[in-house]
Symmetry: C2
Subunit: 148 residues, 2 copies
DNA sequence: CCACTTGGTTCCATAATGCAACCACCTGGA
DNA sequence: TCCAGGTGGTTGCATTATGGAACCAAGTGG
């Protein structure tokens, strides 16, 4: 009776969620985007227990999303850094961020924003677009099996 | 010792994950995008047990992501349909899809693709962009607190 | 009116989570 | 050099969530 695995599912969404779909992994990745690299930083920031953090970090390393690297401050500790595969989660995190900004702050205003570092201007909103850039609504897309 | 709630977190990513960050909710939403509407359809497609599906659907309805509507075939059963809030998850699902296509099909080719219905051409790749459309790498963005 | 489908609920065993205590190694200062 | 504290974990145990199966009521089709 273990948790159902989706790793063999044909759908890429299911496979992604099988890897990063638990409660903490994406938050750890988000923290890594924010520059956090040390075990203690993640633990303090997320407020999760250390055994769970250990499990999750190990999972992220096993899945090639993060790697352990020597600490940048010269100490003999190790740090966790995103791999290219982990950095590719940027759009996933941004999509979640924009949805949360729109729908999870009913009363209060959302206290943070993602901006371009050079200009300080907010990042452009993600939209589903056709090949040529036309915006596509929900009914204008479909999922197909290319080489049935 | 219940699962830690992130609903009061200041970060919109955390709040999003608090709502849709469990193993099944986003997959149900994905199925809804694919046109599935009935309890039985979700259950057969996802292969999850009915009690869990009941819980998740109830949660999605409570959170305003889906609603129960009278069945479209005239029977007295009910169906589950996405609300506008649920439809806004389209970019989140697409981001997960693209990441999965890139990183979760090492050996085999990914068997499905999201295409524009009218043309059959694949949807454009999501990227993080500046206000004017320039692509932004990971180091070119930062999170700020607008009205500190 | 009766069999079958649909959409659940209930019960129970098992896995995941969270807290706290513990521990080894590293580091910095006296 | 020695020891206090920080870092990065592990272990044990209580509590929750998950998953499977059995059960059940209302709807539906013949």
């Amino acid at each position: 009776m273990k948790r159902k695995s989706l790793e063999a599912a044909p759908c890429p969404v299911a496979r992604s969620l099988d890897v990063i779909g638990d409660w903490w992994s994406l938050l750890i990745v988000r923290d890594a985007f924010l520059g956090r690299r040390r075990f203690g930083e993640f633990q303090k920031s997320l407020g999760l227990s250390k055994n769970i953090l250990t499990q999750r970090l190990r999972g992220l390393v096993d899945d090639g999303i993060m790697t352990q690297v020597p600490a940048s401050d010269g100490s003999s500790y190790q740090e966790y850094a995103l791999t290219p595969k982990g950095r590719d989660l940027h759009t996933v995190i941004l999509a979640l961020r924009q949805w949360g900004e729109d729908h999870c702050f009913d009363a209060e205003p959302c206290p943070t924003a993602l901006v371009e570092r050079a200009t300080g201007k907010p990042v452009r909103r993600l939209t589903v677009q056709a090949e040529d850039g036309r915006p596509l609504g929900l009914g204008e897309t479909m999922v197909v099996a290319p080489a049935g």
